[in-house]
């Protein structure tokens, strides 16, 4: 009992604890996205691997609630006004990561609609490239956020914007392709999910370069002109 009591009173900085939980949440969501991508692109998944996807999503959701709880507890204690922007950032960003988890889970579920492998053509090749781009941006996002690496964030967001354009263009190409219904559905959903995952990763990166009130609204020109705090 005494040891337990002492461990409670040997508590660290609550803001650091929130940051650590957010980093853990990003890592889990990245691993989930990676695994879901493998399943989507045809790697045979064992029942354990399918269960892993759901369990990982549950862990991401639990961390979202945990961070929100930490934020509310922190802000409820008076005198914490200096950390309000950081807390509000986290409150918004955990939603982005939670959405990534959901899209990744949905991506893994596409094989239930079309169990056969995706066609080996230029459309799926382009989608594989989009996947690689989104995953590499996502992998870097955690470190960029933790280090507040402004330069790298801008660079990755530029890549992310390009990936989003490529996803939109790919939808147009799929629309003109003579795929059967299940193939069209599977490829369109995959393209759409990767675009959304990329979009939420962009939101996380935008928190490094944009002020709180402009979170999710990345303005490249304003960032270049260092006018991000304009109204």
């Amino acid at each position: 009992m005494l040891r337990e009591l002492l461990s409670i009173f040997r508590s660290g900085n609550p803001l650091s604890a929130m940051g650590e939980n957010f980093a853990r949440m990003l890592k889990l969501a990245y691993e989930l996205t990676d695994k879901a991508g493998e399943i989507y692109f045809g790697k045979p998944a064992t029942p354990e691997e399918r269960t892993y996807i759901y369990k990982q999503d549950v862990r991401v959701n639990k961390l979202e609630r945990k961070i929100r709880k930490q934020v509310v507890a922190h802000l409820s204690i008076s005198g914490n006004t200096a950390s309000v922007p950081y807390c509000l950032f986290l409150m918004s960003l955990v939603k982005d990561v939670e959405r990534i988890g959901d899209y990744a889970k949905n991506l893994a579920e596409v094989v239930d609609i079309r169990p056969d492998p995706l066609p080996d053509d230029e459309i799926v090749a382009e989608l594989r490239e989009i996947r690689a781009g989104v995953e590499s941006t996502f992998e870097a996002a955690s470190e960029v956020f933790a280090k507040s690496d402004h330069e790298r964030a801008v660079e990755l967001m530029s890549q992310g914007k390009d990936l989003a354009h490529r996803s939109d263009a790919l939808i147009g190409i799929i629309a003109r392709k003579d795929y059967d219904a299940s193939t069209t559905t599977a490829v369109v959903l995959g393209t759409r999910y990767y675009k959304r995952i990329g979009g939420h990763v962009m939101n996380i990166l935008s928190s490094v370069v944009m002020p709180l009130h402009k979170l999710d609204y990345y303005d490249e020109k304003a960032v270049a002109a260092d006018e991000v705090s304009a109204p």
Binding site: F9, S11, N13, V72, S76, I77, P85, S148
Partner: protein
Amino acid sequence: MTAASATAPQPAPSWTSHPLLRAALVLFLLYVFLVGVNGLGAGFKSLGQGLLDSFFAATENPFMGLMVGILATTLVQSSSVTTSLIVGLVAAPENPLPVINAVPMIMGANIGTTVTNTIASMAHMGRKEEFRRAFSVATCHDFFNYISVAILLPLELLTGILQKSASALASLVTGVGGADYDSPIKGAIKAGGAPITTVVEAVISLPQAAAVILIILNAILIFVALLMLVKVMRSATQTRVEVIVSRVLDRSVLLAMLVGVVMTVMVQSSSITTSLLVPLAGAGILTLQRAFPITIGANIGTTVTALLAALAATDENAVHGITIALVHLLFNLSGTLLIFPVKRMRELPLAAARWLADTAVESRKLAIGYVVMLFYGIPALFAFLARFLR
């Protein structure tokens, strides 16, 4: 906030952030507090027995003592100040306040201290559900103390059990066999208070006027020292409180209670501990069931201030000071043992708090009326009537 501040911000350091400086400041404030308690006794000694008897005559009625305890605590918003003053009065050389009269006052102080978190809960009035949660957590403390007093005050009047037990414990602490109790820091405390007494007596020639000024100055010393002590300790523990509370949420009830005790001993104020629970309850992080043991722990932890104050007593009635401080501790421990272990008893304050919160949500005027009447109106009315009925 842009790149540089996207990482977790660190709290700005203040000059009290250095552990050694903070420890020195806490020791200094404790010293000032003890000097104040000791000086209070000296002031009452100079006032003269006749004046003291008439001044404290009203407290001979235990109900009035209870009301005085409630009113005094609600007015200064600190049971630590009231109980320290009571210890100072009981331990004063002329014994202006006998232990038997002080017991109901201590119980009243316990009730009075609950007003702070009840007032804090009113900040949530704008949102019904938040207010319901916050108000019920705040008032479970009130109801716990009402029930404790309703059981223990009549029992004490009939048997004197608290006073007898406290006396027995006090004689154990101060030496069995009637040996004189000598405060371990007697010399240092007397030396600290001497310049104040010398200056006041040199400036004011009328002995009774000098005594009144001494009493006021020492009461101010107690108040300011406690206020600053709470402030320093709170700033030292603030960053930990939320982590401590959130860590205790999924632990055992006994651990939650211990956390309440330790947190309150650290900040020297049960009001601080219980008021911190209110916004967390309002936000839905802390449930009534979880907040209750922490609150009970805070109730026990707050008795440490009176025990500290008893250290300042250096004269022939010092043992009485320790006795009343122990009465405070025993009262809160007995209340906890009577109410907490039995589920049906434990449910009483919680059910009452829930009912009051449900009612207050429907009529917010009632919530304000509850605070005004129970903590200020009724005690003030009885104090007023006592003047005319004496």
